[in-house]
Subunit: 165 residues, 2 copies
Amino acid sequence: MAKAEKTLDDLFLDTLKDVYHAEKQILRGLTKMAKSATTDDLRNAFETHREETDHQVQRLEQVFEMVGKRAQGKPCEAMQGLIEEGKEIMDEFKGSVALDAGLISSAQAIEHYEIARYGTLINWANKLGMKDAAKLLQETLEEEKKTDALLSKLAGEAVNQKAAA
Amino acid sequence: MAKAEKTLDDLFLDTLKDVYHAEKQILRGLTKMAKSATTDDLRNAFETHREETDHQVQRLEQVFEMVGKRAQGKPCEAMQGLIEEGKEIMDEFKGSVALDAGLISSAQAIEHYEIARYGTLINWANKLGMKDAAKLLQETLEEEKKTDALLSKLAGEAVNQKAAA
């Protein structure tokens, strides 16, 4: 297809593939982060969000079905970079009092990437008249925002109790 | 320094370097995005935020001074990935009705990375008793949030007027 003929439908599909790939990377990332966390609260938060992410992947597969396309990821360099930064923190701060604070920081950067992407997809789905897709994506967006808020709460506690002790 | 001896001060400095590198990449990215934008409103938004980003870099340099360290970037893989994704959209959607929608989407993903990072830095600065640094970083966070809100507004217009026409 010539570039000039590309439309919002193409952009929607491209971004859907990007987010699909990102969520699958996050699934693996959350497993590692849960293992690294030093408090039960943080480990539970990561494990709970891992389960939510499983459902989010399924919702994306439903949206692929709605647009009549095969669920397929497109390498998401941004998420690869975010995960890489998370790994560096896990490595560099292993055993340190600041490890949990670092893990939370990485997780919140990941959440914000998703908040931006789902916000965009919802806007486009509505413009394209895909109300059902918009509704599914909105459910995921609410989960991402809730996770970010929980992590902000845990960030305050992590620093109070451990890293700044 | 042994990993186990690392503290929140180290994590703060590491993240400060990450954001410093990210902002410098954004400066270049915004220049390219402004050139690609097809409406005056969007071009103006990118140019205004480029000027803000100049000040944000200076604020980070002030924070480096406050902690007695030389202003120095640390390659930020996440931002490299975000910028890379933005470039792909500029290339793949050049001349298309969906270009502006794509540019806005990339810019919002970038803004959300910064919103996450500055939120984290402010929390840590407060815990470390660096009230002046927290205040400076808060000024930047407000600008990032304002830019994100403006881009959301332009996203609605971009889609209405052009891409879904």
